[in-house]
C-alpha cells in the first residue's frame, strides 16, 4: 500500500509541483480503495447475491435451483407455512433479548465508566477486571455459565441454597429464568467494551465545562445532566446503535447455554436462520429471513438516529 501511495502522490503532484494544491484529486479514493475493495467483495457483492438467492429454492449442491419469486418472503407471512411459527418465534426471542439487554448494556457500563474515570488507587486494576471477560470467546463463557447455572448441579443454585434462598431455580431450562441468565451473562461478558468507549468519551469532555458548572453552583446531578451527557452524545449514539445491533445478532450464548430451550423459546433469529440455511440447506428461505431481519435492524437504527437528533 505504501508503494501505491508513493506512486500516487508522485503521479498526481509531480507534474504540477509548482502549483499549489489543486483539489483532492485521486488521493482520497486511493486511501479508500483497499477498504472499498474489501467492502465490495465481501459485503456488497454477497449481499446482492443473497438477495438473488432469496428469490430461489436454493440448495447450492442441487442442479436445479428453481426461481420462486417472492415465495420465500410470502412464506414468512403466511401462518400455514412450515417456517412461519418458528421464524416469528425466533424474531420474538431476538426482540426480547434486545429489549432487556440493551438498556442494561447502555446504562451499567456508563455507571462503571463514571466511577473508573475518577482517580483512585488501583483504578487500572479495576479497569482490567471489568474488561477481562470480554476477552473470552463465546464458547468459553457459554460452557462456563452452563455449568455454573445448571439447575440441579450448578454452583449458582448451590450458593443460593447455602444462604437460605430458593435453590432450584431453572436458570437454563425455565422461563423467565433462561432470559435472566442470558441477559445477565451477556451484560457480565460485554460491559467492559462499552465501558472503555465511555471512558474514552468522558476524557474528551473539556475540564473547563465542569469548572464552569461548579462556578454556576451545579450539583453532581446537574453536572451529569448538563455537562457529561451532552458531551457524551456522539459516544452514546455509537454505543446504543452498536449494542442494539450486537444484541440482535445474539446466537452463541443461547446456543450454548440454553440450546434454545425451553422448547424453542430462546432460539434467536440468527440461530434459526443458520439452522434453516446451513443444516437444512434451504438457503433461499434463510436468505429471505436474513433480509427481513436486516430490514428490521435498519428501521430500528434509523429510529435511534432520529431520537438522538431531535434532542439537539
Amino acid at each position: 500500500m505504501v508503494d501505491v501511495l508513493a506512486e500516487a502522490t508522485t503521479s498526481t503532484s509531480a507534474p504540477v509541483a509548482a502549483a499549489p494544491r489543486r483539489g483532492p484529486g485521486l488521493t482520497p479514493y486511493l486511501f479508500l480503495a483497499p477498504y472499498a475493495l474489501l467492502f465490495l467483495t465481501f459485503t456488497l457483492a454477497p449481499a446482492a447475491y443473497g438477495l438473488w438467492i432469496s428469490l430461489h429454492d436454493w440448495d447450492y449442491l442441487l442442479p436445479g435451483k428453481p426461481f420462486v419469486g417472492l415465495d420465500n418472503y410470502k412464506a414468512l407471512f403466511s401462518s400455514t407455512s412450515p417456517v412461519f411459527d418458528f421464524f416469528w418465534q425466533s424474531m420474538q426471542a431476538t426482540g426480547v433479548f434486545t429489549v432487556f439487554s440493551v438498556p442494561l448494556l447502555v446504562a451499567v457500563p456508563l455507571g462503571i465508566a463514571l466511577i473508573l474515570n475518577r482517580s483512585f488507587k488501583g483504578r487500572t486494576v479495576f479497569r482490567a477486571v471489568y474488561f477481562a471477560p470480554y476477552v473470552l470467546g463465546v464458547a468459553v463463557i457459554g460452557v462456563l455459565w452452563r455449568f455454573l447455572l445448571d439447575p440441579n448441579l450448578g454452583a449458582v443454585n448451590a450458593l443460593l441454597g447455602a444462604i437460605g434462598l430458593p435453590d432450584s431455580t431453572a436458570w437454563t431450562t425455565g422461563l423467565p429464568w433462561a432470559w435472566v441468565s442470558l441477559v445477565g451473562v451477556t451484560v457480565w461478558w460485554t460491559l467492559g467494551f462499552n465501558a472503555v468507549i465511555y471512558i474514552a468519551g468522558l476524557q474528551d469532555i473539556p475540564r473547563e465545562l465542569y469548572d464552569a458548572a461548579k462556578v454556576d453552583g451545579a450539583g453532581r446531578w446537574a453536572e451529569f445532566r448538563h455537562v457529561t451527557l451532552p458531551g457524551l452524545r456522539p459516544v452514546l449514539l455509537f454505543v446504543v446503535i452498536n449494542t442494539i445491533l450486537a444484541s440482535s445478532n445474539m446466537f452463541g450464548q443461547a446456543y450454548l447455554i440454553t440450546q434454545g430451550a425451553p422448547g424453542v423459546e430462546t432460539r434467536t433469529a440468527i440461530m434459526y436462520i443458520a439452522e434453516e440455511g446451513l443444516r437444512s440447506y434451504r438457503m433461499g428461505s434463510a436468505a429471505a429471513m436474513s433480509y427481513l431481519l436486516t430490514l428490521a435492524l435498519l428501521l430500528i437504527s434509523m429510529v435511534t438516529f432520529r431520537l438522538f437528533r431531535t434532542k439537539d
Binding site: 447475491y49 449442491l61 440441579n152 432450584s168 431453572a170 446466537f251 452463541g252 440450546q259 430451550a261 422448547g263
Partner: protein, 443 residues
C-alpha cells in the same frame, strides 16, 4: 457420535452465521447429479497395484476415538507403501457443513465417515458416490453385518455407505448407589416392573434414580428407544408421514415425563446433568451412548456397570447411530484413487476390532462375534442389542424432520406441554418438512 446435528451442532459456524447467505456464494452449480452406477459400475479390485497415490480422509472423531482411528490409518500406510492416507478431523457439526461445500468447489476429500442418517441426504445432493462395487468385490453382504445397519446405507436402491460400527444406547448404572438402596449391583433391572421397583427403592432412600433429560443427548434417544419398545415407528418406511405422535410414541414420552412428575427424576435437568449425576452418585441409572464407556473409565473411584436397556415396552429396542465409510465425488474422477480408497475401506473394516476398543460395536459380524470383542465386556454388553437396533428411514432431509422431535421432548419433559400435545404439534411440523423435502429432492 452425533446423531442429529442438534447438540453443539452449529457452533462451529461461529457468530457470523448470519452469513448463511454467503455460503451459497462459494460454489458454482455443484457437482453433477448422480446418474446410474457412474464411475462405480464395475466391481472394484480388492488390492491396489497402481502408481503411488495420496488420499485425504476426513472425519469427526474428535474424542477418544480420534487416536484409535489415527493408529489404524498409520498401520494401513505402513502396510500399503503405494497409498498414503492423510486424516483430517473436524467437529461433526463443522464436518457436515464443510464437506458438501468442499465437494462442490472441487476440494473435497477422497474418503470420509458419515452417520447413517446423513447418508441419504448426501447421496441425493450428489456429495457421495455409490459403493455397490465395493460391497460386490469385497463380497460384503447383509449376512456379514446386522440387517438394519446394512440396509440403512441404501438410498434409491444403491448402496452409498459401508458400515464401520454401531453406537447404541445402553443402560449405565452406579453400583454403589444401587447397593445403598439395597439393590443387587450385579443384576440391574431388565423389565419394567423391576425398573420401577428399583426406582421406588431408590426414591425411598432419597435418590432420584433416573434423571429424565429434556435435551437430544440423550432425551430424544431415550424417547426413540422407548417408542420402538412400545411397537411404534418414528416415520413410515418411505418417510411420507411421521408416526411418532401415535400411541406408542405418546406412551414412550408419557413414561419419561412421569419420571419427573412422580419424583423419580428432578425437574429441569440440563444438558449432560444426567451423566454427571450418575458420576456423582446422585442418580443410579443413565441411558447413554456407548461412547460413555470411555468417559466413565476415566472417573476415579466410580464403580459402574452397563447393560442393555431394560424392556419398558412390549419388546426390546434401542436407539443407535452408525459410522459409515463414504467416498466423495470429485470434479475429475481418478480411477486409481477410487480403487485405493476401496482398499482402505476394506482394511479398516476388517480390522475394526481395534476400533471397538475405542468404544464402539463393530458393524462386521465376524468381528462382533469373535472372542476378542467378547472380551471387551462393556462394549459386548451394549452390543448384545444389535438385532434390536433401529435407524431412521433412508430418505434425504430426514434429519430436518427429526429435529422437530427434539423440541417435543424438550417441551414435554420440562412439563410445559402434555406429551400427546407436544408430539402432535411436532408431527404437524414434521409433515410439512417432509413434504418440503419431497418437493426438493423429488421423492
Amino acid at each position: 457420535m452425533k446423531p442429529h446435528l442438534s447438540r453443539r451442532g452449529l457452533l462451529g459456524l461461529g457468530v457470523g452465521a448470519g452469513g448463511a447467505v454467503l455460503l451459497g456464494a462459494c460454489g458454482d452449480d455443484g457437482p453433477n447429479p448422480v446418474v446410474g452406477g457412474g464411475q462405480n459400475a464395475q466391481p472394484a479390485a480388492t488390492n491396489y497395484t497402481g502408481p503411488n497415490v495420496a488420499l485425504t480422509f476426513w472425519n469427526g472423531f474428535t474424542g477418544g476415538d480420534g487416536p484409535v482411528m489415527k493408529a489404524l490409518v498409520d498401520r494401513f500406510n505402513s502396510e500399503n507403501p503405494n497409498i498414503k492416507v492423510t486424516m483430517n478431523v473436524y467437529e461433526w457439526a463443522d464436518y457436515y457443513q464443510k464437506v458438501p461445500a468442499a465437494v462442490s468447489t472441487g476440494n473435497g476429500p477422497d474418503l470420509g465417515i458419515m452417520h447413517v442418517e446423513q447418508v441419504a441426504t448426501n447421496a441425493a445432493r450428489g456429495v457421495v458416490l455409490p459403493l455397490d462395487d465395493v460391497a460386490a468385490s469385497l463380497q460384503l453382504k447383509e449376512d456379514d453385518f446386522s440387517p438394519p445397519v446394512w440396509r440403512a446405507g441404501v438410498y434409491n436402491n444403491k448402496r452409498y455407505a459401508i458400515p464401520l460400527d454401531v453406537h447404541p444406547l445402553g443402560m449405565f448404572y452406579n453400583k454403589s448407589v444401587l447397593e445403598k438402596a439395597g439393590l443387587d449391583p450385579d443384576n440391574p433391572p431388565k423389565t419394567k416392573d423391576d425398573y420401577m421397583k428399583a426406582l421406588d427403592a431408590l426414591k425411598s432412600k432419597g435418590v432420584q434414580g433416573h434423571w429424565a433429560t429434556p435435551f437430544p443427548f440423550t432425551g430424544t434417544m431415550q424417547f426413540e428407544s422407548l417408542t420402538w419398545q412400545f411397537g411404534g415407528q418414528l416415520f413410515d418406511e418411505q418417510a411420507s408421514k411421521p408416526l411418532f405422535a401415535e400411541a406408542p410414541g405418546v406412551q414412550a414420552l408419557t413414561w419419561l415425563t412421569d419420571l419427573v412428575k412422580n419424583g423419580y427424576s428432578p425437574k429441569n435437568v440440563a444438558q449432560d446433568a444426567d451423566l454427571i449425576a450418575l458420576q456423582n452418585g446422585k442418580a443410579a441409572f443413565n441411558w447413554n451412548g456407548i461412547w460413555t464407556i470411555n468417559t466413565l473409565k476415566g472417573v476415579k473411584g466410580l464403580t459402574w456397570g452397563v447393560s442393555a436397556l431394560p424392556t419398558i415396552g412390549s419388546q426390546p429396542a434401542a436407539w443407535a447411530g452408525s459410522h459409515n465409510f463414504v467416498q466423495f465425488k470429485q470434479r475429475t474422477p481418478d480411477a486409481n484413487k477410487l480403487q485405493a480408497g476401496k482398499v482402505f475401506i476394506n482394511f479398516i473394516s476388517k480390522n475394526s476390532i481395534e476400533w471397538a476398543k475405542g468404544g464402539q460395536v463393530p458393524a462386521r459380524k465376524e468381528i462382533r462375534e469373535g472372542a476378542e470383542f467378547k472380551g471387551l465386556t462393556e462394549q459386548a454388553a451394549i452390543g448384545s442389542q444389535i438385532d434390536n437396533l433401529h435407524f431412521p428411514p433412508s430418505v434425504p432431509g430426514i434429519p430436518d424432520a427429526m429435529a422437530t422431535i427434539d423440541t417435543a421432548i424438550n417441551e414435554a419433559i420440562l412439563l410445559r406441554k402434555e406429551p400427546g400435545k407436544a408430539l402432535a404439534d411436532a408431527a404437524a411440523k414434521a409433515s410439512q418438512i417432509l413434504e418440503q423435502n419431497r418437493k426438493k429432492y423429488g421423492g
